[in-house]
């Protein structure tokens, strides 16, 4: 449940940052610390489900582990040549 809350927040951040381009999002790069209190595989599972639905198109997530309690969105990859746009 906690991971789902975090996943919703990651999606909210992406929508806020990308606006109309959210549908062009292809990858979300995350950093999850070993002491972040988040189970990375569970978070990725939740995000894969959410990022496949509108307003997103077909985005996936890449989780990088780190020491400490970091939990941050590192980068987005956006497809600028999406023929649908």
């Amino acid at each position: 449940m906690h991971e789902l809350s975090v996943a919703f927040e990651v999606c909210r951040m992406a929508e806020e940052r990308l606006g109309h381009d959210a549908r062009r999002l292809r990858l979300v790069g995350l950093v999850v610390g070993d002491d972040a209190g988040v189970e990375p595989a569970n978070l990725a599972f939740c995000l894969d489900a959410l990022l496949g639905q509108p307003p997103f198109g077909a985005a996936s997530v890449l989780v990088n582990r780190s020491p400490g309690d970091a939990l941050r969105v590192e980068y987005y990859e956006v497809d600028d040549d999406n023929p649908d746009d």
Binding site: M1, H2, V10, M13, E74, Y75, Y76, V78, D79
Partner: protein
């Protein structure tokens, strides 16, 4: 296909933390001390609050925001001990409270008449540790029926807390719980943790607890 990379480097909790700062600002504006009570389910948070309201309710303006996944049961129990200031948040499945819910809760509370705010979080020793609610401090409640290794199993929660209430000590003669080891375990993960030993049921240890709350509350104004 042209892929463009957008650097973000933004904490996932950034929005929550921004709202937590707003909670903190509003509490400071009214000189309110706020404690976020966190624990596993069944540790005795609500009973502790019932006893606290009964003891200090005529002395201090105490508000409570309760968080439960379902039901208003905790809020209804607490409403028997105070005629005002209890706000229930039903999270509808979420395993913790967030700063937005607390900020909304503050809107329904008469802050000018409040000296002490308790946030009774959802019973869960994992998730609430990660969410700043704008509180003065987190207080972790754990009971002697839970086992003395709780701090080692849930280190983040015990690291985030400033105080621990070891509750249900009236049951110590009946359960295999090593009190000294529990304290050692907790101090392994948080050497600065302050302790209270209580039985919210019998009232044992509540004198120290209430004295602490009096000290931590900025304004000792009798409630009119």
């Amino acid at each position: 296909m042209t892929i463009r990379t957008i650097e973000v480097r933004e904490p996932v909790m950034a929005r929550n933390n921004e709202l937590a700062r707003e909670v903190r600002r509003r509490l400071a504006e009214h000189d309110i001390t706020a404690f976020n009570l966190v624990s596993s389910p069944g540790s005795g948070k609500t009973t502790l609050l019932e006893r606290t309201l009964s003891t200090l309710g005529s002395e201090l303006g105490i508000a409570v925001i309760t968080g439960d996944v379902q039901t208003r049961n905790d809020a209804e129990r607490l409403e028997h001990h105070t005629t005002r200031l209890v706000q229930a948040v039903v999270t509808g499945g979420a395993c913790h409270l967030d700063a937005r819910q607390v900020l909304d809760g503050l809107d329904a509370i008469d802050l000018a008449a409040t000296h002490l705010l308790f946030i009774e979080n959802v019973g869960n020793l994992v998730c609430p540790a990660s969410w700043d609610l704008g509180e003065t401090a987190k207080i972790v409640v754990f009971s002697v029926t839970e086992g003395e290794d709780k701090p080692l199993k849930y280190p983040k929660m015990f690291r985030e807390a400033r105080y621990a209430v070891l509750n249900k000590i009236d049951l110590l003669p009946y359960v295999p719980f090593d009190l000294d080891r529990a304290i050692d375990n907790a101090r392994q993960v948080n050497p600065g943790l302050g302790f209270f030993m209580t039985s919210a049921l019998t009232g044992r240890g509540l004198g120290d607890w209430c004295d602490f709350l009096r000290r931590e509350t900025h304004r000792l104004v009798a409630v009119g």
